[in-house]
């Protein structure tokens, strides 16, 4: 339980931000402290060494004054030592062979052998010693050893260490608190996003994440999530509408079946009467299953099950076949069915989908063209774009401009549908099925219309790779007139 909570806590961004902050502060404090200490120490030693160097000059002057009276020299050296600020200051003078000639100040027993060497400084704990060769005119070559206790220097450094340690401790203790507060501030908008997102329900998608207006990454994240929510909400709305519409559409054949069956059950009837009623039921059943099949195509499109990778179709063959299918219908209605040359065009997708596409467009066009009018079908390959364009143009009443943007919506029936009310009303799904198929196959469908003159539907589909490579274009003559 406790370990669980601990794990939950340590998994948060806030915790890791805090941890990183502590690590960074610790490293910074450590580096800074060591640096300050090093600089300070170097400066102290330099000062000390400069003082010793000055002492060398002073001692050399004293030697020149008193030479060769070593006793007097030692007295004056003791005077210097007495007044010297450096603790346990001492000086020793040797001749070239290493025999001591004079000494003054603190009687330190320095173990360093005196040798003929260039001026150097040595640390002989706790002393700092300066060794120099003295060559002055009128004097023999002398070796000088001069130094003092470094303790004051070490004391100063210790004091610095202490100060730095105390400050560092304070900073290190404050770092987690600061880190926690900062991390909290930084992650607070995230907490808000989480809380809001947790409140969202598929049934209630009206809430949106707050935008703070800072334009930072979290604002961008909120905006992205909001626009995603917008899309989801509109998708769900459309779906709800679709389901409601579909239920409504399914209800009328169901009602018809129900009433036929009720009539049949009402009283004893002759076999002929039963056959008629059952025939009616059968017709409604067929209508129902056709409707369901059409809804299934749309559903397949929605879940991405329509795809063009599995097979290819010769669109020109489908167009020819569909012309044959509707030729008699057009003839009966007094509509001329015209088609220009149909060039060979291989497009991705199963032929059943292309059949649906061409037949629905053709059916629509014939339906809305008055007797004496014509429906024109065209197929054009555009080698540059590797596409094929299928146009179905009617000479019908046209689609009002306010209806035009909606013609591909599911269950949309414009005013024009009501003009022909013979038989059953159309499902209002044909064009949306066309759109679903075309989009799934990577193409595009567009509608253009002039009131009173007619409408033109244009489908653009990509050619299959092989077909495009083969450079299709040799047209096959085909013309159907009814």
């Amino acid at each position: 339980m406790l370990s669980e909570r601990l794990r939950n806590l340590t998994a948060t961004i806030r915790f890791s931000l805090m941890l990183w902050m502590i690590i960074v502060v610790f490293v910074l404090v450590l580096v800074t402290s060591l640096g300050v200490r090093q600089v300070y120490r170097t400066q102290l030693l330099e000062k000390f060494d400069q003082a010793l160097l000055a002492d060398v000059k002073k001692v050399s002057q004293e030697i020149q004054i008193h030479y060769p009276d070593w006793r007097r020299l030692e007295q004056s050296l003791d005077d210097i030592a007495f007044a010297h600020p450096v603790q346990a200051w001492f000086v020793q003078i040797y001749d070239k062979k290493g025999a001591r000639l004079a000494a003054g100040g603190h009687h330190a027993d320095i173990a360093t052998p005196i040798v003929d060497e260039p001026p150097t400084t040595h640390d002989r704990v706790p002393y700092r010693v300066y060794v120099a060769r003295l060559e002055e005119p009128g004097l023999p070559t002398l070796l000088l050893r001069l130094g003092g206790n470094r303790q004051s220097l070490e004391d100063a450094l210790a004091l610095l260490d202490q100060t730095l340690l105390v400050r560092s401790m304070i900073i290190l203790l404050l770092a987690p608190i600061g880190g926690y507060v900062l991390a909290r501030r930084a992650t607070q908008p995230i907490a808000k996003i989480i809380a809001t997102a947790a409140r969202l329900q598929p049934s209630r998608l009206d809430e949106r994440l707050p935008i703070r207006g800072t334009g930072d990454e979290l604002d961008q994240l909120s905006r992205t999530i909001n626009s995603m929510l917008d899309r989801i909400a509109s998708y769900i709305d459309k779906n709800r509408e679709f389901v409601a519409h579909a239920a409504h559409e399914l209800r009328s054949p169901l009602a018809a079946i129900r009433s036929s069956v009720e009539v049949a059950l009402n009283r004893q009837r002759s076999a002929d009467e039963y056959a008629t009623l059952l025939g009616e039921v059968m017709e409604e059943c067929q209508y129902l299953s056709n409707l369901v099949n059409r809804l299934l195509i749309l559903a397949e499109g929605d879940v991405g099950r329509i795809d063009g990778r599995r097979s290819t179709t010769r669109l020109d063959d489908i167009v020819r076949e569909s012309l044959d299918m509707f030729e008699a219908v057009a003839d009966l209605q007094g509509v001329r069915l015209e088609a220009s040359d149909l060039p060979a065009a291989s497009v991705p997708g199963d032929e059943d989908y292309h059949r649906q596409l061409v037949r629905n467009l053709l059916d629509n066009a014939i339906k809305f063209t008055p007797p004496g009018g014509a429906v024109h079908l065209g197929l054009a390959v555009e080698p540059a774009k590797q596409t094929v364009a299928l146009t179905v143009a009617d000479e019908g009443v046209g689609i009002p401009p306010h209806d035009l943007p909606h013609v591909f919506e599911r269950f949309f029936r414009g005013d024009r549908s009501r003009q022909r009310h013979q038989g059953r009303q159309s499902s209002g799904l044909g064009l949306s099925i066309c759109q679903a198929i075309v989009r799934a196959l990577g193409g595009d469908i567009a509608a253009a219309s002039t009131l009173g003159q007619g409408s033109t539907f244009t489908v653009t589909l990509p050619l299959t790779v092989e077909a495009a490579a083969a450079g299709v274009g040799q047209g096959v003559q085909q013309s159907v007139s009814a």
Binding site: C285, R310, D324
Partner: protein, 223 residues
């Protein structure tokens, strides 16, 4: 004919069994794939009607095992899945035909006939029903000795009706035979062709040959 039906849905299974029996077929109905496999392996059937969505083993697996065992009995796959992909897969796995639920008995019977004929008989070169003769080689139709000029579409419709002499041929069957797949729109594309065919055939014939059967389709009857 002896027909094996592998179908788990009791309502559909019962209806199919009854329909087949009434069409003078003998029918064995099993509700599980493995059992069906045993029956198919041990008894001689002329056709198998196989549902795809079976409990336990999927119909396509049953089909694959059937073909693995070298059983070449024609198989008609039946499923509620209407997607093109399943159709392709089913036919790829060795099915002879494919039928989407809901289907009509007439359609199933026609398809059983078709797959059995495909498996055994050569297609006849000439069809005859009453006074009506149809020559498949010369594509000529005569009615009581008089030549009848038909469009290719009308010829195909008549051929289909004559092949199923006395039986109901549905609009869906005609559509699929003529143009590859059914037309689910409101516009009755078959009826117009049918009316033209009728008017050409019935010229000089007192009794109508082609009958419309409400809610089901059309039937050709000589008498």
């Amino acid at each position: 004919m002896d027909i094996l039906v592998i179908e788990d849905d009791p309502a559909i299974g019962k209806a199919v069994q009854q329909g087949l029996n009434e069409a003078n077929h003998s029918c064995t109905w099993v509700r599980e794939g493995p059992l069906g496999l045993d029956y198919a392996a041990t008894q001689k059937y002329e056709a198998i009607v196989l549902d795809l969505l079976l409990p336990g083993e999927h119909g396509l697996q049953v089909l694959a095992k059937l073909r693995e065992r070298g059983i070449k009995t024609p198989v008609i796959v039946v499923t509620a899945l209407g997607a093109v992909g399943d159709k392709v897969e089913g036919l790829g796995k060795g099915a002879d035909d494919y039928l989407v639920k809901p289907f009509e008995m007439a359609e199933l019977l026609a398809r059983i006939d078709a797959v059995c004929r495909r498996a055994t008989l050569k297609p006849a070169a000439r069809l005859q029903v009453g006074d009506l003769r149809l020559d498949l080689a010369t594509r000529k139709v005569t009615c009581a000795g008089v030549d009848v000029e038909l469009t290719p579409t009308e010829f195909s419709i008549l051929e289909m009706l004559m092949r199923h002499d006395g039986q109901v041929v549905t609009r869906k069957m005609l559509c699929e035979n003529l143009w590859g797949s059914d037309w689910e729109g409101i516009t009755n594309v078959i009826e117009v062709h049918m009316n033209r065919l009728r008017s050409k055939l019935h010229k000089g014939v007192k009794q109508p040959l082609i009958h419309t059967i409400r809610g089901r389709g059309y039937a050709l009857r000589a008498s």
